[in-house]
């Protein structure tokens, strides 16, 4: 049998024959690739590998050789006998793989849009998986942001609840007070009136009595006189008559004189009001308005939730890509079709795991029209396939501009099998991001199940543990009545349930709500007031299920129900929000009424109302959120269900028809109760308001005002309904508007601004680094808060003071670099050494010195406040959670430095200083840090701090500490160079040995970092050449190298490595752990062809010599492509094989233009400043210059590799010195590569062929 098999094995590929061709010599070989590979195309003949017979190739090529039919029969027979599977590739034709150019059985790779062979495809899938896992890690790292936001939102919800409660109480209180005051006053006034009336009446009555008595008296007198005092009667004596006459005269006089004071009794009480009653009523009616500061507040929080642009996510390149993808999708989606199209989803409207459609139908026809036809029709709005693909490519290219070769992140491609699964549409999407839940996708579920079952099959004996939990969950969910679900595979739904069960915080709640969900069909929801729904929603919200979680656990199948519950949960979630927003109405009635409504959580309303209300709330109250959130097509899911169900028609319908539509649907939706109360006149009004182009919020408040007379309960749903409609209608335009908003928001929210700001601020700012950047700026915002710092009150005070001084100082010391201004409070006038020392005024007393040093060390942290990055450091140091590795690194570093400084201060404090007042000490606080670092040069900071050479020398000289370096100017120092100080390494692969070392860089604490190229690793040595550590190995995975070349260390100690043959840049943290990679082979932006030298500037930008592309590329520290310059050529600004690069602290970019035998100096924008050198071996001439380095004075060191010497140039490019020659001895070189200059003036030289680093 074995021999039989051997007979069926092709001698070339050692595999089973595939399409065996019979040569005239009777030997058979596979047609492809075996026989093909044997063809001598020049002589058009093939030589038999077995017998070396040469045969002419038939006219049609090797195909023309007869097929060995017998052998084929045997093959078939063998298959029959052994039962082995037929070769899957039989019948296929080999093609050239579009990636590796090997002939193979190619199939389509969605990753790269090409037909490629299995191996490449496997590799691509590997890449994708790796990418996914990496992105996943990023997500994991970033998810806390969402969680933070979640807790923030929860907190906000709580806050707003308490806030509204207190405000409500306040209102109540005021109402009570006003009420009481009014009542008291009224009672008082009433009492007064009564009292007044009583007294007045009394006096009037007595008057009345008196008058009547008077009248009667007089009348009786009159009568008497008439009767008895005529002439006839003389019964009266004179005396009596006289008296009578007197009385009568008096009476006449009285009557004549009596004047009733009319005014006294016509007087009336009038209520005099201090204020115009109308005004008063107005005042009272509007006794309070609610100032809703929440607008910005919500905007902010929603901004955080904004999915694609989320600051945390945004910072990683792949998420850039996602974001841009979203944006593109959005543009496309809203450009040519209505909102809500599936096209706007993450996968571009495809279902998960589905292949992009057109290609199959067109190019292969293999997929068959049945499967793809529909989709294709659906997509027919797209002009043509080619355009589509071009678009895709554009997308890719665009993504590439984000500098990632791995840019084609398409999560969907994880599963290459295309599965036409309609129900995938139902998978739960995140309400904010629209990210589908993979676990809900039937494709994925099937996969998982297959996987599981496969596993189970493998371990047949062991009963799989999976089934047990399944039945447990199943009973909890009665079989769904939804037809769609029924049609689904039972298994899938079960898994779905499982998944759901897993995510729900409490399963019981789910089971409780589910029946309700399922029962409530669309109609029911619409017609019946559904208190149950409200109740269930309450329950759900009680579990503090935020919409995010909420939606997560929704099944696709119970979509309608989902909508209801989600809504309900939203109701709970938005409770507080709502009350806040409803307060914008002017009438007090309305506010109380609506808050009542809130308290009952819309129980008296129909579901519809609740729904509408919530919808409106999400639109209105968080208007900012929708607007900014609309940056992605996914913000909609919250609204989408409603929209599609209730508003899809109006949304699509022409505006003219909308009025009718609206009344129709609104009457449908508003309860009877409300309809009876409805004020029909106000309704169109509100609607009209809603239709005008004012923003939803405005429209809303306007509505509220208009309908304030109305029953407020009605107003709420009514106008919110209008609003929701409005919102839908407005969507497209809002989306267009959203773009700028997002853009505007970005800077403030993300770190990028500060990065750019820093740039523009030039030296003032220290570069915030990398991914820590975001956090750093975040911290920096709070950094000014002194309390952030874990320092004693005293040192805090000092820092404050010191800063003030610094500010004052900066005015007088403008010629200093900003950096110096910050840290060097010494004014230029005091550059006299003694004055300098005196002004520093170190404490003379020992105790004072001790005290001083302590405060200074805390100050070390403090003094960094001004720069965002430093403050971040400090903040990070405080914040243990945020203590990432770099922060730790910084901490230890600064800690070290403090120690060094203490020593230094100890030394200087010995110098007698007569007056050491507290003020002088404080003044000195800024100094020691700087001077010590300057002198000890133990810090890469010092690289960036010198504004000009003179200040440096002055300062160092002034400090007057006997340092070998400090006393001499760099010029003289370099002039002395030629004697090798020491060397590191020899050939080998053990630690401390090298095989063709190339790049060299100076790391923190003057450590020496070497790219040990052919050992595929980075080695780190301390400043004395003692081996510290190594990392990396051969390979193309993360953290692996293939002949790395350049190495650079940025300000925070991260290693940046040009992984040459992998055509990428890798970044490692200070401990050598892989952080990220970017770039791949290619000529596009952000791609490389043998990247060689690399460097980084003070701002953290990464400069890469893209050697074979003859250009320099610049990246942000996170790998985002910033720019490029240089093209192939020998003119000014052109490059030919640039090898190494260095950036001075004055931002001069120095490039060794190797094949042009010159050094070119660019500014950061790629404009040539100067260039020097030509081919030759004279001074100042080069032969293939390679390594370049620049010190903090601007002196340039060039590894003149062809001449095997080091040349040093003045900052202006004039020759200073050269040393070295060919050889293997000390100070001799064979094949120079990178050079580096340490802050203390040493020159590190990579002596490649001698496999060593030499230090001069």
């Amino acid at each position: 049998m074995e021999q039989f098999e051997q007979l069926l094995t092709c001698a070339i590929c050692l595999d089973r024959y595939r399409n065996p061709k019979l040569l005239p010599c009777q030997h058979s070989f596979c047609m492809e690739p075996c026989l093909e590979g044997l063809v001598d195309y020049v002589r058009r003949q093939v030589k038999c590998p077995e017998c070396r017979a040469e045969h002419r190739i038939p006219y049609q090529g090797v195909q023309g050789f007869p097929t060995n039919v017998t052998l084929q029969r045997f093959l078939e027979l063998h298959i029959e006998i052994t039962g082995e599977l037929p070769d899957p590739t039989s019948g296929q034709v080999m093609e050239r793989c579009n990636v590796c150019s090997e002939k193979a059985y190619c199939s389509y790779c969605t990753h790269c849009d090409k037909k490629i062979c299995e191996e490449c495809k496997g590799a691509h899938m590997e890449i994708l998986k790796r990418e996914i896992s990496r992105i996943n890690n990023q997500i994991r790292r970033g998810i806390h942001r969402l969680q933070d936001t979640l807790s923030l939102v929860e907190k906000n919800a709580q806050n707003i609840q308490t806030n509204c409660l207190s405000v409500g109480e306040e209102v109540e209180e005021i109402y009570r007070r006003l009420n009481k005051a009014l009542k008291d006053r009224t009672e008082y006034l009433r009492g007064e009136i009564d009292r007044y009336l009583g007294t007045e009446l009394r006096s009037l009555n007595t008057l009345k009595d008196n008058l009547s008595q008077e009248i009667s008296n007089i009348l009786s007198n009159c009568d008497l006189a008439d009767k008895h005092m005529n002439e006839n009667t003389d019964i009266w004596n004179d005396c009596e008559l006289m008296d009578a006459k007197e009385i009568f005269l008096k009476t006449v006089e009285f009557i004549r004189n009596f004047e009733y004071e009319n005014t006294d009794y016509t007087r009336r009480v009038r209520l005099v009001l201090a204020h115009d009653p109308n005004q008063l009523v107005l005042h009272v009616a509007g006794f309070g308005d609610l100032n809703i500061a929440g607008g910005t507040h919500f905007g902010q929080s929603s901004g955080l939730l904004q999915p694609p642009g989320g600051p945390g996510l945004m910072r990683s390149k792949s998420d850039h890509r996602l974001a841009s993808q979203f944006r593109q999708a959005e543009e496309r989606g809203y450009g040519d079709r209505g909102y809500g199209d599936t096209e706007d989803q993450v996968l571009g409207g495809r279902k998960f795991g589905e292949r992009p459609k057109e290609r199959h139908t067109d190019r292969y026809g293999r997929g068959g029209g049945t499967d793809y036809g529909e989709d294709y029709d659906h997509d027919s709005s797209r002009p043509s396939r080619s355009k589509y693909s071009r678009f895709r490519r554009h997308q890719t290219v665009d993504n590439d501009s984000d500098t990632e070769q791995t840019s084609k992140v398409r999560f969907n491609e994880q599963k290459p099998e295309r599965e036409k699964t309609l129900d995938t549409e139902d998978v739960t999407r995140g309400p904010l991001s629209g990210i589908t839940r993979l676990a809900d996708s039937p494709t994925v579920m099937k996969k998982m199940q297959d996987f599981e079952s496969g596993k189970n099959k493998k371990k047949d004996e062991v009963p799989p543990p999976q089934p047990t939990p399944q039945p447990k969950v199943v009973p909890k969910r009665p079989p769904p009545p939804a037809t769609r679900q029924v049609s689904e595979e039972d298994e899938i739904s079960r898994i779905k349930k499982l998944n759901k069960g897993a995510t729900t915080s409490t399963e019981t709640a789910t089971t409780e709500t589910r029946p309700v969900e399922r029962e409530s069909t669309e109609e029911r929801q619409r017609k019946t007031p559904a208190p149950e729904a409200a109740i269930s929603s309450n329950e759900e919200t009680d579990e503090s299920v935020t919409p995010l979680q909420q939606t997560q656990r929704k099944t696709a199948a119970s979509k309608t129900a989902t909508a209801a519950t989600r809504r309900a949960s939203d109701a709970g979630h938005k409770k507080s929000t709502r009350s806040a927003s409803s307060d914008s109405t002017t009438s007090t009635e309305s506010s109380t009424a609506s808050s009542n409504a809130i308290r009952t959580t819309g129980a008296p309303f129909t579901t519809e109302e609740v729904k509408q209300k919530i919808l409106s709330r999400t639109d209105n109250t968080s208007g900012v959120r929708t607007r900014s959130g609309s940056g992605s097509p996914k913000e909609s899911p919250i609204q989408k269900p409603f929209q599609s169900r209730f508003l899809s028609k109006p949304a699509v319908a022409p505006v003219a028809a909308q009025n009718d539509e609206q009344t129709e649907s609104s009457s449908e939706e508003v309860t009877e109760e409300e309809e009876s109360e409805e004020d029909t006149t106000s309704k169109p009004e509100t609607r009209e308001m809603a239709k005008t182009d004012i923003g939803p919020l405005l429209a809303r408040s306007a509505n509220a005002r208009d309908s304030s007379a109305e029953n407020t309960r009605k107003t709420g749903p009514e106008d919110s309904y209008a609003k929701s409609k409005y919102a839908t209608k407005e969507e497209p335009s809002r989306y267009t508007r959203s773009r700028p908003t997002v853009a505007d928001d970005e800077p403030s929210r993300y770190g990028y601004t500060s990065r750019f700001l820093n740039k523009s601020k030039s030296t003032a700012a220290i570069p915030p680094e990398d991914d820590d950047h975001v956090s750093s700026t975040r911290y920096s915002s709070t950094a000014d808060d002194e309390n952030k710092y874990p320092a004693s009150g005293r040192s805090r005070y000092m820092a404050l003071k010191e800063r003030r001084q610094r500010l004052a100082r900066s005015r007088s010391s403008q010629q200093f670099g900003d950096e110096e201004e910050q840290d060097e409070p010494i004014s230029p006038t005091s550059s006299n050494p003694s004055a300098y020392l005196a002004s520093r005024g170190y404490g003379s007393a020992a105790s004072a010195g001790h005290d001083l040093s302590r405060s200074r060390s805390s100050h070390a942290l403090k003094s960094r406040e001004t720069s965002p990055d430093r403050s971040a450091t400090a903040a990070a140091e405080k914040d243990g959670a945020a203590l990432s590795s770099w922060a730790r690194y910084l901490k230890s570093k600064y800690g070290n430095r403090n120690g060094a400084k203490d020593k230094d201060s100890g030394a200087t404090s010995a110098t007698p200083s007569s007056s050491s007042s507290a003020a002088a000490r404080r003044l000195s606080l800024g100094l020691p840090l700087r001077s010590s670092t300057e002198l000890a040069s133990s810090d890469d900071d010092s690289k960036n701090m010198q504004g000009s050479p003179t200040t440096h020398t002055v300062a160092t000289a002034a400090a007057g500490i006997a340092q070998a370096v400090a006393g001499t100017s760099p010029r003289s120092q370099y002039l002395k160079k030629c004697q090798q100080l020491f060397e590191i390494g020899s050939r080998g692969s053990e630690p401390g040995s090298f095989t063709w070392p190339r790049g060299v860089a100076v790391g923190p604490d003057n450590s020496i970092v070497v790219a040990d190229s052919s050992n595929h690793r980075v080695q780190v040595f301390d400043s004395n050449g003692r081996f510290l550590k190594e990392f990396g190995q051969y390979g193309n995975k993360e953290g692996e190298f293939d002949c790395l070349a350049g190495v650079a260390v940025n300000r925070i100690g991260q290693f940046i490595i040009a992984d040459r043959y992998n055509h990428r840049i890798q970044v490692f943290d200070p401990s050598g752990r892989f952080l990220r990679t970017f770039g791949s082979q290619g000529t596009a932006d952000g791609r490389f062809n043998y990247p060689w030298g690399i460097t980084t500037d003070a701002l953290g930008f990464i400069y890469v010599c893209d050697k074979e592309n003859h250009r320099i590329q610049v990246f942000q520290s996170d790998g985002t492509f910033v720019g490029k310059f240089g093209t192939m050529g020998n003119k000014e600004g052109q490059l030919e094989h640039p090898h190494y690069i260095a950036v001075s602290n004055t931002n001069r970019v120095i490039v060794s233009d190797s094949n042009n035998h010159r050094i070119q100096i660019f500014d950061v924008n790629g404009k040539v400043i100067t260039s020097f050198g030509s081919e030759g071996s004279d001074e100042g001439q080069f032969k293939f210059p390679r390594g370049v380095a620049v010190d903090d004075q601007g002196y340039i060191c060039v590894a003149d590799s062809g001449n095997n010497r080091i040349q040093i140039f003045h900052p202006d490019g004039t020759f200073l010195r050269a040393f070295g020659c060919w050889g293997i001895g000390k100070g001799e070189f064979k094949g120079l590569e990178g050079v580096a200059m340490t802050p203390n003036g040493h020159i590190l030289v990579c002596d490649r062929e001698n496999h060593r680093i030499q230090v001069f």
């Binding site: 070339i12 050692l14 595999d15 044997l38 070396r52």
Partner: protein
């Protein structure tokens, strides 16, 4: 780097499973195309008892082109030069894709048994071999003892 062709994988597997007597070929850990080979000196030859180290590298277009083989252990042989390069027709123009690593190594082993001074690479050795074969054989034995029997 393209993946390893199936043929190389198969050959490697077979070399491991059915090793050729007197020959061991182990692929390098980091490069599956690079083999560390040890060939024992054939019996009845001046190289008997020696263990000769070779390196074998399968080029990119293997099996369409011959593997590169070189002696690492110094050997006194007319067809093997100072640097260990081998003069063997199947490693040059007579290469055939039907040959394999094992056949190549067997051929090399055979070459040790049958030196061919008429097609020399190391001229001085070939000269001596032709002029004074016993002397040459003695030298070969001496070299074998000195370089190929140490460990």
């Amino acid at each position: 780097m393209a993946a390893l062709p199936r043929r190389i994988i198969k050959e490697t597997q077979r070399l491991m499973q059915e090793p050729v007597p007197g020959i061991s070929a182990v692929p390098d850990d980091s490069n599956a195309r690079y083999f560390h080979v040890i060939v024992t000196g054939p019996e009845d030859s001046p190289f008997e008892g020696g263990l000769f180290k070779l390196e074998l590298f399968l080029p990119e277009d293997y099996p369409m082109s011959a593997p590169k083989v070189r002696f690492i252990t110094k050997i006194y042989h007319p067809n093997i030069d100072r640097l260990g390069r081998i003069c063997l027709d199947i490693l040059k123009d007579k290469w055939s894709p039907a040959l394999q690593i094992r056949t190549v190594l067997l051929s090399i082993q055979a070459l040790l048994s049958a030196p061919n001074p008429d097609d020399p690479l190391a001229n001085d050795v070939a000269e001596l071999w032709k002029v004074n074969e016993s002397e040459a054989i003695r030298n070969a034995k001496e070299w074998t003892r000195r370089y190929a029997m140490d460990n």
